[in-house]
């Protein structure tokens, strides 16, 4: 699919460093919070969302094109970082869509400042601790193991895991994983207190999970949907945790439909 959207690359100068942002499309603002992978990438999923929304996709501290921001040490700091980013972007109540690690962040943001989120979409979000359904330890996986854990349709994996990466590609991936480790080594990919705070969320919320998620078990999705007031739940069949890398059309359609329907209801705005 050819890009129809003009994608703008921006850097936000913040007190602790620069934030790399990709921005494209017109419509209600949609803040996209990326997963462990995917920083700095404008994918087909973003392109499809940009047909209805103004998609704003920053890279987290220590990921992609953003600086390290070493003082952003944990998830609590990261939430304040994003409150600053929202203020800097002049966004009051954007739609917030977060995937995996970014989904955890989106939930924390909506818990911390419920009014800052117009509506919320959590895509296979990390963040909960369910000992009987542990999140798989992606830090311990070799690249082939990680590919197998992320994708249900392995034919889609080669685009994300090139067979012979060069040194710079390896180092960029190592940096992104270090960014993830900083926020999620221990407690592992969760905030044990998040679950009991989810009741604070006021934004209309959709929880979306791929049926074949080998990384974050679907029980986490059910838990989110159960504890966030009035949350809806949708499942995408025959898809792995890589979600919009694997089935971008379905994920974009589900996201767009929910946000478009809920836009007026939620009062999403700049």
């Amino acid at each position: 699919m050819a890009n129809e959207t003009v994608v703008r690359e921006e850097f936000l100068d913040m007190p602790g460093g620069r934030v790399h942002v990709l921005r494209g499309g017109t419509g209600a603002p949609l803040l996209f919070l990326h997963a462990a992978g995917g920083a700095g990438q404008w994918l087909q999923y973003h392109e499809l969302l940009a047909r209805r929304f103004e998609v704003i996709a920053p890279d987290h501290p220590g990921f992609g094109g953003s600086d390290d921001f070493p003082e952003v040490e944990g998830m609590d700091d990261l939430v304040y970082h994003y409150l600053d980013v929202l203020a800097r972007l002049g966004l009051e109540r954007p739609h917030v869509v977060g995937a995996s690690f970014g989904g955890w962040l989106a939930a924390e943001l909506a818990v911390h400042t419920p009014d800052a989120v117009g509506s919320l979409v959590l895509l296979s979000a990390a963040g909960l601790r369910i000992p009987e359904h542990p999140i798989a330890d992606l830090f311990l996986m070799t690249p082939p193991q990680l590919a197998a854990a992320l994708f249900h349709d392995m034919s889609k994996a080669s685009a994300v895991f090139p067979p012979d990466p060069d040194v710079d590609t390896i180092l960029a991936a190592y940096r992104d994983m270090a960014g993830l480790a900083r926020f999620s080594w221990a407690p592992f990919l969760c905030n044990p207190k998040l679950e009991r705070r989810l009741h604070r969320i006021t934004a209309p919320t959709l929880v979306v999970w791929p049926s074949e998620d080998k990384l974050v078990p679907i029980a986490h999705g059910h838990r989110y949907a159960e504890l966030i007031p009035n949350a809806a739940f949708a499942q995408v069949e025959n898809c792995g945790h890589a979600m919009y890398f694997e089935r971008p059309e379905e994920f974009a359609e589900i996201t767009t439909e929910f946000l478009a329907m809920g836009a007026e209801l939620s009062g999403a705005s700049r």
Partner: protein, 389 residues
């Protein structure tokens, strides 16, 4: 030159299908393969070997720390040092080292080492390490904080040993409102410090600044050369030439009466060490953030083969190990000393699944014939720094 008899205390009794079934002897290798009866015998055998090294005249006997692995059975090296303290007489007892970065409470290390310094009557040497990659999984320590934790813990321990006044310690990773350790160490200002490094320039600069001893880890001599040169360069930038005894080469050594016999006997045990003991993939060796971007780049560019892919011939020819008759081993040490400029050998004699008898024969030949032949090497600060620095 000074000589250390170093032990890893491996658990050699791996299952027959280890090579095909298990990615590593570490972290996830199930502990059901640890037989307590055999393990019990191993501890006493290995301690006997360390004690024997003391009677043979080795300058030091060394132990180290590893967690959740058949590679080495010393989660607490300080316990091993305590076991050796009153059963040895002359050798320096070298803890190489405590993994202060993964200790939840590094002040405990300051206390234990101070105690050991008294138990050994001032024969203790204190090594500090960050903790190896997989140990950050094993002890739930964020590897992105590994270097900061190491540096802060080091500074805390040194200050705890040397301050004669109660103080408060506050750093990003540690807070102690009352630091006032009893006992203080016996040695003044504190036991000598040894730091192993695997090529990180941050570590070399740190060691040079503090004038500690820099030790290599297992690597080919061309790579060790670069590390030692960079260390000497870091010292040079601070205006001094390090004494060769501040540069330690860690290397497995096997001595037998003839070259032919030595190679025949050493081969399977070196292969165990490099192909089984050191079968550790990058995902457990270098968890995210454990290496800085520049050190990781250096590692990727160094082009070192993974240990399990080394042939025996490469292990010998590239300087990963020294094997031969006493004369051959002495000659090889002379060659390596000239190339690398070290004045300290940290020798691993109990290699992989080697027997106790072989270990004893090898260490006795080394002490009786090799040490006297090479003792004078690396004893003085060279007038000119070796070429290439």
């Amino acid at each position: 030159m000074k000589f250390v008899f170093f032990h890893l205390m491996p658990y050699p009794y791996l299952p027959d299908d280890f090579d095909s079934k298990h990615p590593s002897p570490s972290l996830t290798f199930p502990n059901r393969f640890f037989d307590p009866q055999l393990g019990n015998q191993l501890y006493h055998r290995y301690l006997d070997e360390l004690e024997h090294a003391d009677t043979l005249g080795f300058d030091g006997i060394g132990v180290n720390e590893h967690h959740q692995t058949a590679y080495g059975l010393m989660p607490s090296p300080n316990i091993m040092a305590a076991a050796l303290a009153r059963r040895t007489q002359n050798a320096q007892i070298m803890v190489l080292g405590n993994a202060i970065g993964i200790r939840g409470n590094p002040l405990r290390v300051a206390e234990e080492i101070a105690m050991l310094d008294h138990l050994t009557n001032g024969r203790l040497a204190s090594g500090f390490v960050r903790g190896i990659g997989w140990e950050h999984f094993a002890h739930s320590i964020d590897p992105t904080r590994s270097r900061d934790r190491f540096t802060e813990a080091h500074d805390l321990i040194i200050k705890a040993w040397t301050s004669d006044e109660l103080f408060q310690w506050i750093s990003p990773n540690y807070e102690y409102r009352y630091v006032n350790i009893w006992p203080r160490p016996l040695q003044k200002p504190h036991p000598p410090i040894y730091i192993p490094g695997a090529g990180s320039t941050e570590t070399m600069k740190f060691v040079a600044e503090k004038r500690y001893t820099y030790m290599s880890v297992y690597a080919p001599s061309r790579v060790v050369r670069r590390w030692f040169d960079t260390y000497r360069q870091a010292a040079g930038e601070l205006g001094y030439v390090p004494h060769p005894e501040k540069i330690g080469l860690s290397i497995p050594i096997y001595v037998a009466e003839t070259d032919e016999r030595a190679h025949r006997e050493a081969r399977p045990h070196l292969m165990w060490l490099f192909h089984r003991g050191l079968k550790q993939g990058p995902e457990i060796m270098f968890p995210p953030g454990y290496m800085t971007q520049s050190s990781m780049r250096g590692l990727l560019m160094a082009g070192m083969k993974p240990f399990p892919e080394l042939t025996y011939e490469e292990i010998i020819s590239e300087g990963y190990a020294i094997v031969g008759s006493p004369d051959s081993v002495a000659n090889r040490i002379g060659e390596l000393q000239e190339e690398l400029g070290f004045g300290l050998i940290i020798g691993l004699f109990s290699i992989g699944d080697i027997t106790h008898e072989q270990t004893v024969t090898s260490m006795e030949l080394f002490a009786g014939h090799v040490i006297p032949a090479v003792r004078s090497l690396g004893a003085e600060v060279p007038e000119a720094v070796p070429a290439g620095t």
